[in-house]
């Protein structure tokens, strides 16, 4: 056999669908994620950029610009992700695997905190715990005679608590999706062989949902280290800075290069954690649980623990969901932002303009742009969620099916990064990259397409991570059988993978949708149309100092998110009919 004969078919074999898919994915991720990232990196290699590296890493400013913020960021990232796994894991187990009363309502309540902007939780904390350091009127506890020390009112402790309360529902959403695909057959088999409950939990349930736990840990870690509102509101009064407050501040005061350097360092640090957690997953045996048989979920009877655990689950929802929502709603009704629970009025929602309140500004439902903004928001949210979900599914599928290869590793790292790139830098890179026409492709400047592209890339991690955690559980047998019967890749995807993974996919889509309808910076920087989205309307009110109107819009956004998640749950029940 001569060499050319060998090479030709080999080369052709190399280009089969199996190989092509990862290459295509690399191309897409390269354009969407790597290109903007490289552009930011290049910006930090200019003379001003080199100076910024020096100022941050090796100058008298380093402790305050880098080391201390880094330490705070690491404490927050690790603390929040540990706390979220505990709370999110517990609640997911409670809702999915047990017969706790009111499971449905608990399931809805625990998805809510992520939909409430984290500043609402920070505001709620302040309303309760603020102390004399901030002047003004005292918080609820001080007003009632308790002394609140600074460490409880401001700084790392309240930021940790507020962020866990915000992000645990992200962990809940992902872990619940994975738990719901732990088949009853596994659990029943264990029970029949006499395994006790802890054994079943540690021997079956936990290993099976490990990919989901890792996904949840990575996303909550990234969320916590990138969060700005909570550390800014609760940390600054005691001069606590995190990398994200530093990064935001540097861009805001016109030292963008320093901001970019901090962003790159933040990406590097988080990248290390991601790499380690990836090793954790790929180093262990794969547990395939979705085999096409026995899709029902088996529920553990809780016995006498039913009610105590219900109280625990519901109490958590009270603290993390109902309190912030009440504060938010109250702050859209109170005439004075300092006194949330007196002199309520519906003016900020329905009032006619021209009166004494709020310099004659009419309520939000009388704002002529509101309906347009509402429709724009929905369109943007749905389109971005759909596209991100599809892209995320394709990526997650490629990553899980090529598990352990260098390619899959690179893809999974790249797909995770956008969460950590500050949106202002991300958007600027997109304008610079796609604003000019590229070859035959027209300029995308100011177009809806560019916004959707950037938004899809920015939110990719949610879709990929939630997709991965579920796809990892689906047996390749099913796909192999389909392939043998002649089904093409798209057909297999549509008929097998999507229905089985629908819960995880919808969970990811909802996360993206929520992020998108709340997002401001990406939209204002990339969108040129005069018809705004809701977050822009809210910003307009807030910029004029009309916080009540802005909060009313935030409540509206919350209602939209909640509706979307209920629709998703209904959809999922229809697709997975075999579960009934």
């Amino acid at each position: 056999m001569s060499m050319p004969e060998l090479a030709a078919p080999g080369w052709r074999r190399f280009l089969t669908a199996r190989r092509l898919a990862p290459l295509l994915m690399i191309l897409i991720v390269g354009v969407l994620v790597l290109a903007p990232l490289l552009r930011i990196l290049l910006a930090t290699l200019s003379p001003a950029g080199i100076e910024a590296w020096g100022a941050i890493l090796a100058s008298p400013m380093s402790p305050n610009l880098w080391w201390r913020p880094l330490m705070n960021t690491l404490i927050l990232g690790l603390g929040v992700s540990a706390g979220c796994l505990l709370l999110g894991g517990f609640t997911a187990w409670l809702v999915v695997m047990t017969d706790v009363p009111g499971r449905r309502i608990l399931g809805v309540l625990h998805t809510l905190p992520f939909m409430i902007p984290s500043f609402a939780a920070a505001l709620a904390w302040g309303t309760l715990f603020r102390n004399g350091r901030m002047g003004g009127s005292p918080g609820f506890f001080e007003a009632n005679g308790f002394i609140i020390p600074d460490w409880l009112a401001w700084g790392i402790v309240p930021v940790l608590i507020v962020l866990i309360a915000h992000y645990y529902s992200l962990a809940f959403t992902i872990i619940a999706a994975a738990l719901s695909s732990v088949g009853a057959d596994l659990v029943e088999a264990a029970q029949m062989t006499g395994a006790r409950r802890p054994r079943i939990f540690f021997g079956i349930v936990l290993p099976v949902v490990t990919p989901a736990l890792v996904s949840a840990a990575s996303l909550t870690l990234a969320g916590a280290v990138a969060n700005f509102a909570a550390p800014a509101l609760l940390g600054l009064p005691v001069r606590m800075q995190t990398l994200s407050t530093r990064l935001f501040g540097m861009i805001e005061i016109g030292q963008a290069e320093r901001g970019f350097v901090l962003a790159l360092l933040l990406i590097a640090v988080s990248g290390i954690f991601l790499f380690l957690s990836d090793r954790l997953v790929s180093g262990r045996r794969a547990f395939v649980t979705v085999t096409g048989k026995g899709g029902r979920t088996r529920r553990f009877p809780l016995g006498k623990w039913r009610w105590p655990l219900f109280v625990a689950g519901f109490g958590l929802a009270m603290l993390t969901t109902i309190v912030p929502v009440v504060v938010l709603v109250a702050s859209s009704l109170a005439t004075q932002t300092g006194a949330l629970f007196s002199n309520w009025t519906l003016h900020f929602w329905l009032g006619e303009g021209g009166g004494q309140i709020a310099q004659g500004t009419a309520g939000i439902f009388r704002n002529p742009v509101l309906i347009g903004a509402l429709l724009n928001t929905l369109k943007l949210g749905v389109v971005v969620a759909l596209i991100t979900m599809l892209l995320g599914l394709a990526l997650a599928h490629t990553i899980t099916r090529n598990k352990g290869t260098v390619l899959a590793n690179i893809l999974s790292q790249l797909a995770f990064l956008p969460l950590l790139i500050p949106s202002i830098a991300f958007a600027a890179a997109y304008i610079a990259l796609f604003g000019a026409p590229i070859g035959p492709l027209p300029s995308l400047y100011g177009s809806f397409t560019l916004l959707v592209m950037a938004a899809a890339a920015h939110n990719l991690p949610y879709a990929v991570q939630s997709g991965r955690s579920v796809l990892g559980q689906i047996s390749t047998d099913l796909e192999e059988s389909a392939r043998l019967t002649g089904a093409g890749p798209l057909r297999r995807m549509w008929a097998i993978v999507v229905p089985l993974a629908i819960r995880g996919l919808l969970a990811g889509a909802i996360l993206v949708f929520v992020k998108m309808v709340r997002d401001l910076s990406l939209v204002v920087l990339l969108f040129s149309a005069t018809s705004p989205v809701l977050s822009m309307v809210a910003y307009r009110y807030a910029a004029e100092g009309f916080m009540q109107f802005a909060n009313a819009i935030t409540v509206l956004i919350l209602v939209i998110c909640l509706t979307a998640s209920l629709v998703a749950q209904a959809l999922q029940a229809r697709v997975q009919k075999w579960k009934e």
Binding site: M134, R239, M250, I251, E252, T337, A427, G435, Y445
Partner: protein
């Protein structure tokens, strides 16, 4: 070959364009309007959402020209314009922007924006507000106190009192490493070393001793202020609540915005400006109007800038009305200040020297970072 041809073409195209811009700069509003009608739209990035009210007034005065207003913070305007022009996109006509020191460095110096002074207003605006950038109005970052808690007037009469133990933990400002205006305030203080030294002597009776690593009494003040447990917050809303809330006992003082006093009644605040302060109570800083480079609607852009300065009445008429706020000051001399607020000439605030602040801002930012 192709490249040099392109460059030649570009140069050839630029000459008439430049000449045209100079023509436009000299045109009357009527001539500008004629051209603007052909351009049909004018796009403005605005730091203030009040641009929505300008839109109504502008379109009523100049039918046929559609104003597209986008609210963008100064930092975002700069990021967007720089990125756009790097990609060869010229989509915006007018920028209404604060953060003048950064705009000067990142936009004006590289030629990304141009200063246009409407001929109609040339002799109604002081020279220092016409160059390098055209200033539309002045806002403040000045010392504010609670007039209910201190009915006899400001508890602070000299900035150096803020560094005394009695004010430890009771002076607030929005973090100057998060917001440009506050960084400008501290930079401007650092740029007045002599006044700060004199004020020190007036307060303590002795000459100031300045740390070896600092230059000037202004920088020493910044260090002492931070060492005296200056409380930083993330937004002006928190600040106003902390200082202004009625019936608060022993409230702090803060460097805030004078015009926020207009919300006193509605919010239950008692905010008042501490004007009688040595050597100054803070800064006046500009909001700037500029034409973007290669603006797609150059005539309409100029027409809009002209329009936003209002008519010849004492309150500037409907065009200026959205910006006629007590505690903010028009640069156009024909527009009278609000009768209930301190007149501009009596306000003891330094008007920032944009160029000097731009030059020293980064150094002061570095100093502040080491103090945190």
């Amino acid at each position: 070959m192709w490249k040099s041809l392109k460059a030649a073409l570009l140069a050839a195209a630029c000459v008439p364009a430049l000449a045209a811009a100079q023509d436009l700069d000299a045109m009357s509003t009527a001539e500008l309007y004629d051209r603007a009608k052909e351009e049909k739209t004018v796009t403005v990035f605005s730091l203030s959402s009040r641009i929505a009210r300008v839109e109504k007034a502008f379109e009523a005065t100049y039918p046929g020209v559609d104003l597209i207003g986008l609210d963008l913070s100064s930092a975002k305007q700069i990021a967007r314009v720089v990125a756009e022009q790097q990609a060869g996109v010229y989509a915006v006509d007018v920028l209404y922007i604060a953060d003048a020191p950064v705009a000067l460095r990142d936009l004006l110096a590289p030629g990304r924006i141009h200063t246009y002074v409407p001929p109609r207003l040339a002799d109604q605006i002081e020279n220092r507000f016409k160059a390098p950038l055209l200033v539309h109005r002045l806002s403040t970052k000045v010392l504010m106190y609670n007039e209910q808690a201190y009915p006899d007037g400001s508890p602070v009469t000299n900035l150096w009192q803020l560094t005394l133990p009695e004010w430890s933990g009771k002076v607030m400002m929005v973090d100057p490493t998060q917001r440009g205006e506050l960084l400008d305030l501290l930079t401007e203080i650092a740029l007045h070393p002599d006044e700060m030294a004199a004020a020190y002597k007036a307060q303590f009776g002795s000459d100031i001793v300045i740390d070896d690593d600092l230059s000037g009494a202004g920088e020493q003040f910044i260090r002492n202020l931070f060492l005296n447990d200056l409380v930083l917050v993330s937004n002006s809303d928190d600040l106003n609540k902390a200082v202004g809330t009625r019936d608060a006992k022993d409230p702090p003082v803060a460097f805030g915005t004078y015009s926020d006093r207009r919300d006193n009644e509605e919010e239950g605040w008692a905010l008042q400006v501490a004007n009688d302060v040595e050597p100054a109570n803070g800064i006046l800083f500009p909001a700037v109007l500029a034409v973007a480079d290669k603006a797609p609607s150059p005539a309409a852009a100029r027409l809009l800038i002209d329009f936003m300065f209002g008519d010849d009445t004492a309150d500037g008429g409907p065009a200026f009305a959205p910006f006629n706020v007590p505690g903010d000051y028009a640069t156009r001399t024909t527009i009278a200040d609000d009768p209930d607020s301190v007149p501009l000439e009596d306000l003891k605030a330094w008007t920032i020297n944009t160029e000097a602040v731009a030059e020293h801002r980064a150094r002061i930012a570095d100093l502040i970072i080491t103090l945190q």
